[in-house]
């Protein structure tokens, strides 16, 4: 089973499209006299032995249309806020971006703060500590990367995906149709039932409850506590109240 997640990347002009290409297509090796970037990419990754598909859409060039950025945030499960460590102004803009993202997104959206171009140590204008402090203050994950040397690029995206994955496992994440769809798909996937070690009638009742929960994006509290299910794991933790 594969799953789709949409992660959007914001803040323009800081080399994020290169970052994205580095992550989605390894064949484009970074070369000193060539800058290539991309605004859309998809890639399969593996977390906890599960195949997960990441779709990444870039908001670049569409900032003038409020409706577009708004919709992007809303559809995304995670976002990467990228600034350029050699340009102080990109760092200063983060607050505005973050506010925007928070306002328009689901409150559970995972946001990662990325200081890009860490290879240009000599021209650094924003200290690593400042980035860390900003991230701590606003509850973000922080990392410094370099699209040129490919350092930390993989980690940045995968850590974000991991965080999303964890949130889904906890059951707090339930933002969009994609998630719900996959959840439904899993609930109806009968193969996993046999491995729970539950009686057939019990399975039936759980399955009904889960289906009910899968129908609405935000299941009522008793259902959440009732069926803490691990979407990707084969084990269901079934807690009765």
């Amino acid at each position: 089973v594969t799953f789709f997640y949409t992660v959007c990347v914001c803040v323009s002009g800081v080399g994020k499209s290169c970052l994205l290409l580095q992550f989605t297509d390894k064949r484009f090796q970074p070369v000193h006299d060539l800058t290539i970037g991309v605004e859309f990419g998809a890639r399969m990754i593996t977390i906890d032995g599960k195949q997960i598909k990441l779709q990444i859409w870039d908001t670049a060039g569409q900032e003038s249309f409020r409706s577009i950025t708004r919709s992007y945030y809303r559809g995304a499960a995670g976002a990467l806020l990228v600034y350029d460590i050699t340009r102080r102004d990109t760092f200063n803009h983060l607050t505005t971006w973050l506010e925007d993202a928070r306002q328009h997104s689901n409150s559970n959206m995972v946001i990662m703060l990325i200081g890009n171009k860490s290879d240009l140590e000599s021209r650094r204008e924003v200290k690593k500590e400042e980035g860390e402090a900003f991230a701590r203050e606003h509850g973000l994950i922080f990392m410094e990367t370099s699209a040129k040397t490919a350092s930390n690029v993989e980690e940045a995206f995968i850590n974000t995906a991991k965080e999303i994955y964890e949130k889904i496992q906890e059951g707090v994440f339930d933002i969009n149709n994609e998630v719900r769809r996959t959840r439904k798909a899993f609930f109806t996937h009968s193969a996993s039932w046999t491995e729970c070690g539950l009686s057939a009638s019990k399975q039936q009742s759980i399955s009904e409850e889960l289906l009910e929960a899968g129908k609405c994006a935000m299941p009522p509290p008793h259902l959440i506590t009732c069926c803490l299910c691990r979407l990707w794991g084969r084990i269901f933790i079934y807690v009765t109240m």
Binding site: R66, S67, S71, R74, D174, M218
Partner: protein, 1026 residues
Amino acid sequence: MFGRSRSWVGGQGKTKNIHSLDHLKYLYHVLTKNTTVTDHNRNLLVETIRSITENLIWGDQNDSSVFDFFLEKNMFAFFLNILRQKSGRYVCVQLLQTLNILFENISHETSLYYLLSNNHVNSIIVHKFDFSDEEIMAYYISFLKTLSLKLNNHTVHFFYNEHTNDFALYTEAIKFFNHPESMVRIAVRTITLNVYKVDNQHMLHYIRDKTAVPYFSNLVWFIGSHVIELDKCVQTDEEHKNRGKLSDLVAEHLDHLHYLNDILIINCEFLNDVLTDHLLNRLFLPLYVYSLVNRKINPQVSLYLLSQVFLIIHYQPLVNALADVILNGDLSKFTRSSASVGGVRRFTKPPESLERSLEMSRHRGRKRTQKRPNYKNLGEDEDDERAGGGGGGGEREKGKGTEGGGGGGSSKGSRASGETAEEIEMVVMEKCKVSELTEQNITDEEKTAAATRTHAQRSRPFLDMVYSALDCTSDDYHALFVLCLLYAVSHSKGQPYLRLQLPVPDQERSSYSLVLVERLIRVMSQAAQPDGKVRLATLELSCLLLKQSVLSGSHCIIKDVHLACLEVHSTQTRGEEIFLDMFEDEYRSMTSKPLNVEYLMMDASILLPPTGTPLTGIDFVKRLPCGDVEKTRRAIRVFFMLRSLSLQLQGEPETQLPLTRPEDLIKTDDVLDLNNSDLIACMVVSKDGGQAQRFLAVDVYQMSLVEPETKRLGWGVVKFAGLLQDMQVSGVEDDSRALNIVIHKPSSNPHAKPLPILQANFIFADHIRCIIAKQRLAKGRIQARRMKMQRIAALLDLPVQPSATEVLGFGQTASASPGGLPFRFYEQSRRAPNDPTANRSVFASVDKVPGFAVAHCVSQHSPSPLSSPSPPSSGSGSTGRCDSVTASTISAQSPTVSSSPAGSVHPPALAPSLTPASQPTISLLTDNSADTLSVESLTLLPPADPPHLHPCASHIVRACVCDVNESKRLLEASQHLCLHMKKDSFYSQKMGWKPVKLGARSTFGFFCTQVCPVVCMRVFFFCFVF
């Protein structure tokens, strides 16, 4: 596999540099050798295409000859050739991806023109990919998006062909406008916006004439279907189970509105006409507005959606027309559906799909380009097998007759088509064509019709409905939406005048404004009820509206509104500790997050009936309180809001709130006179290991760490200052000389963890110093909290004129801060930088708690100028003030109150927290209703001198906020008080209390105490000037 192909390519050894013209030539060679795609060469081809892309981008950035070669050999044709061979998903995705990368990274105009010439790109756009494949779909649409970002006045000619009337990029994209995948829909919207943005008249004419009507009518239908689904979701909701789905649908609707607004902002005039026409006549009026009186969808849903419309869309003609119908429209022509004047507005499904419409318009060439776009003109000649088509015929004839009418067809026609289930029909009096609406609100027929009627008879069903929904005696479900709508209409940028002052004849305007204001006040008074069903958001919004309509109006309708309410619940589990934190926290969160109506209207949860339980996860301001704690929180908030409203309406500044003002606090690097004050030397070991020798001083609200000032003896420089109330002190296990002290910063950001501003071990000289310090800190903390509680109590008096505040029983501070209690201990003038000559001792020796610094007793020497008969109590507390704070009880007070002569009451030696004002001139009211008074509800008219009322209120309220231990005695006291007041009804006459006239309006006050038999007390004070 890529690795393998790479090595294969590299292994040829033809080029050392993979980025060069030579390498491109080699890649070309590979392409010519592999013209047909097979399983064997597939990877090689993909890698070759990728390498070509890389080379082209490199060439674009470094070497122009690369592009010449690419063009010369027409290499793009190879791409197309590969694509057409049904080479399968893998190759398709790779090809689309590389094309994407290619177009995105080309920076030179000329290079771009090279790539776009020959029409190859258009061939790729119209290629029938397998769109059921999610990945191909995603790559394809982002390819189109990338292309659309490259559109400008020059490049548009490569995409739009004037002669063949072809604009594949646009028409192919909009076919996916209702794709199930949200990211695809977003991309489609981006593409359309990028297209509309290009200022090319020919292209825009094509868009309008050939695509605008089909696209917009389908879009409007798509939006409308979502709305109906949304409504269904609200209707069928039980126990808030549909909330998740609902918030999705609401967000979807918002997305649409933002998108529409973005189109309208581009301000392409003739596109806007078509769009406005469709929106108004096929969606907003028939579905939203009409539902206000004839529930097609729930009125609350339509109010909610309309508010969103006004908040988001700012296009003047559209907004004005819509507001006009809501505020002035009537249903007079409701029955005359066949009348020629009243347009028939229907929300109905377009008879054909968008794709089909586009097909038709393409085939029919330029025959109709001169004509005004009309939906009915499309697909006229086609042989129509579709269900909807048959019925459409009749409509078309009609549509041609009323050219540009933009209305839907007759209902009869479509009903025959069997789509009745999907259509929502409405007939509403209408102002006819949209174009007319902009300049002239009423058609000739309307004018004559209006002339025959008198204004008084003119009914405005929509407006009436809106006003009647403001009533919130049972709940404020509808009222919140109405307030939002009114707010949105009045704030809509499209309005040249304030819409709330209705555009009707004069006498009606004032009366309608009055109606609104009266209703707003009613909402507020309902909110002030202890068990009112008004949510905080509703209250805040009505305050906003009231301010707006009264303050900005040319003549003030109300001069004065004083509303105060407080309801305090004391339970056994909760003492003043929590109350203070709550009080300050509420103020912080209220001022840091002022209500944003737009954000409020983004929340789907308010669409469901108001609920009280926090288990739903609904924000506190958007639901009713649950439990005593939340009821208290709500009461505090209500108090803040009404207080600020009252002050603002009177044009007075806030002087008492917030309780802690940063400018009043001791700051780091302040220089203080510490002569005679108690200082304890200690070693401060911070968490990260830093050590420093400091002196610890405890102030009224703060503790500070100072180090000696070098220039002046006995002065100190503050190195750290923290609020005592946020401090935690604990001993250190293995060291009796040490204390662990943590001070948290009051958090304003909900996402951040509470950050300790100080986290350190204090090591003292010996364990005795340590114990002294600990006691001092702990006492200081209690004292600081008490001081604040007193200030809250003082606040709850809510002086009608804060400037005339009585002494309030805090004699020691009266002259230091006339407004009430001190914000800080150190007077500004004593701060070294301001007045270095000031050398009076700050830590005066009057305090009786050893080593404990308390406020300097100033008023002992200077009688309060405001209290005419100087209260005997002012001096009495001076000696044992600190001790009495803790030891004080109200019990001493009750006999005093009940037995005191009618002249004045002097409660002696009361703790500041409990001391009533100097003169609790409580009196009963001589209103006609005096006989009916009971203990539970006493009606008082405020005296001629309004402040005199407040001591009474403060007395009760103060009683409430004090410790739980004392509440029983309090209860007795207040009962006594009430009885006393009741008995001595003559007393009030003596004191000269009487109803007061303020201008032409009568003033009345309302005072009510509710004494529950339990320890729970509700005190409710409410003063109202009408």
